[in-house]
Amino acid sequence: MTDIKFAAAKPNKIQGSATEWAEQIDGAPPPSKKVPPLPVAKVAQELQTAVEQFLYRQAEILDDKHWDEWLDLFTTDGRYWMPASEEQTTGDGMANVFYEDLDLMKVRIKRVNHPRAWSQKPPHKHCHLVSNVVIEKHDPASGDIVVRSRFHMAEFRRDNVRHFVGKYRHELKKTPNGYKIKLQRVDLVNAEGPYEYVLLTWL
């Protein structure tokens, strides 16, 4: 070990605090931003139940891979959208994890059903739970709905179980054939993290 001759200690009078020291360089911290409250619509229990049932039905269709029924859940111009970050306010012209219209959904369905879709061997198994259903907007004239909810999906594949958790936001159109999805927004809690997997179908 190197031998060092140190100077004798001189008593110092230490002044100031860590906060004073930091703010001398950085200035005072900016005021915290005001966050607007999330909108909530007051609706009848019957409507609440009908919307919840729609969301449960979608989860079941996805888990059981009833692809024709899946496509039928959307309006003809409907979209399934998973932004790359929760800050995104639109999917148009942005980099997204998912941003699919019916035609692209058809490509995905045809592909997973192809006998040589290599990464679908064996196919995955899904199980969705949907909860925390809050209707944020109800237009009494059209019957259209905007609804927020949470999901937890477990996926089983090649001896492994993976978990996907996040938020849904559905924009639903009321039609003579029941609700149809105009836009489904999906915010995965770890959307900005590294992906150890490829999302082969929708969450």
């Binding site: 990464s119 992906y195 490829v198």
Partner: protein, 440 residues
């Protein structure tokens, strides 16, 4: 690995086959990090990722946590992301703005944006010690060398070696082609970066990038599905389907088409593969873009730029670039069997929005975490790595068209697009790096 390491390495690579240990042995991996990724020029990021003073981006160069930062004078620095006091990471986030200084969360040491030490609290306690504010050992350590080419920042963690341009040699095309395609001659990064983890060795990814036999096999399911829907759209609307469908349906091209694509190998392990997608349709958006190109470059030069036919440029060992669609994937090896890729795309400055949308569509379809294309590639990489870790055989075969690679002045050209020239070429460069000795 024992005895003569260099001898061992040479025994692992033959002209037409490579030993599985090159992919699976953790000792080989450590040596690769030291002799290759922490020695040669490796891609850090694009200057437009850090537009304003204090903007930073962190990444891994080899095994080293580095931070790229824009200083007050506009200069971009690449520094080790480490406080010289007790070693704490100074930037624990992936990116952000650090303000005027880097701040240590442990004892509040403050560093200027060029890494020099600005201030430490209760500094009087250091009186009479060997600590000195001006002593470089108390400053953030910069990468040994940092250079950028047309906005693309590289660093080398070795003092020795050729300059960046000399190192890149034939791979300069990647950045020239991408930037030249912008009417303003520059590109700007789109701030979303998808990061994908491959459960396989980093070289398995590089070898896939210029493999023209695999696309129609690996991606058959997606190619066929897209072709069917492409036809449906055309029947339903009476118009051509968007170009993005063609990106995927092009995978259905028959073998003879892939055979016509030229591949090349350049000094230091870089390789190129020619394009197959035909990216010059005669629609109004393309015509508007081409007119802007003519205005900037004149007719002759614009034609030259637009006719550059590239699919991938592999910038050894850290990048796969698709310049005509403004995409790149940076390779960050994490372990022998784990590789992170950082996937970026760019806007051509001065080009119409519709041209950006093409790049975005490709980014989505091929590179997003929901990709129908790389899904099957990543699956293959995992299958390969798992098989190579077994004792079911010792060798990886690169025999296709072996011994038929014409070359002149260190530049190799394949006799067929399906040749395994790029794999042989990369492993030849790999052997040279690995046996040349460690950095510094």
């Amino acid at each position: 690995m024992d005895g003569s390491v260099t001898g061992d390495i040479r025994a692992l690579v033959e002209p037409d086959r490579v030993h599985r240990k090159c992919y699976t042995d953790p000792d080989v991996f450590d040596m690769e990090m030291r002799n290759i990724h922490e020695t040669v020029w490796v891609y850090v990021g694009h200057e437009s990722q850090v537009k304003n003073p204090g903007d930073y981006y962190t990444t891994l160069i080899g095994r080293q946590p580095m931070v790229m930062v824009r200083a007050k004078d506009g200069k971009v620095h690449v520094l080790y992301n480490r406080c010289p006091h007790r070693g704490a990471l100074l930037c624990p986030d992936r990116h952000g703005n650090t303000g005027q200084t880097f701040k240590c969360s442990y004892h509040a040491w403050r560093f200027n944006l060029d890494g020099s030490l600005l201030k430490v609290p209760v500094v009087e306690q250091y009186a009479g010690t060997r600590f000195d504010l001006a002593d470089k050992q108390f400053h953030m350590k910069p990468a040994e060398r940092t250079e950028s080419y047309r906005g693309f920042v590289f660093c080398s963690l070795s003092h020795d070696g050729p300059d960046l341009k000399t190192y890149l040699s034939g791979a300069l095309r990647a950045f020239d082609d991408m930037c030249d395609r912008a009417p303003d001659g520059e590109v700007e990064v789109v701030p979303t970066c998808f990061r994908m983890i491959q459960k396989s060795n980093w070289k398995i990814f590089l070898e896939n990038q210029l493999d023209a036999v695999h696309p129609s096999i690996t991606h058959e399911s997606s190619g066929r599905a897209a072709l069917e829907v492409e036809k449906d759209i055309e029947k339903r609307t009476g118009h051509k389907a968007p170009l993005s469908y063609h990106y995927i349906s092009a995978f259905t091209e028959p073998f003879f088409r892939w055979d016509t694509l030229n591949t090349m190998g350049f000094p230091n392990g870089h390789c190129t593969l020619e394009g197959y997608m035909g990216l010059r349709p005669r629609d109004p958006d393309t015509l508007e873009y081409e007119a802007a190109m003519e205005k900037s470059y004149g007719k002759k030069r614009a034609e030259e730029i637009l006719n550059v036919n590239l699919h991938h440029v592999l910038v050894y060992p850290s990048l796969s670039v698709q310049s005509p669609l403004q995409q790149l994937r940076a390779v960050r090896p994490l372990a022998a069997d784990r590789t992170l890729t950082e996937i970026w795309h760019f806007r051509l400055k001065g080009a119409p929005e519709a041209i950006y949308r093409r790049s975005l569509d490709y980014y989505y379809l091929v590179n997003a975490p929901s990709t129908m294309i790389n899904a099957d590639d990543l699956d293959n990489f995992w299958r390969c790595h798992t098989g190579l870790a077994s004792e079911g055989g010792d060798w990886v075969s690169f025999h296709r068209n072996a011994g038929q690679d014409p070359h002149k002045d260190g530049v190799y050209t394949s006799v067929t697009g399906m040749s395994e020239l790029p794999m042989r070429h990369m492993m030849k460069a790999w052997t040279e790096y690995m046996t040349k000795g460690a950095r510094r």
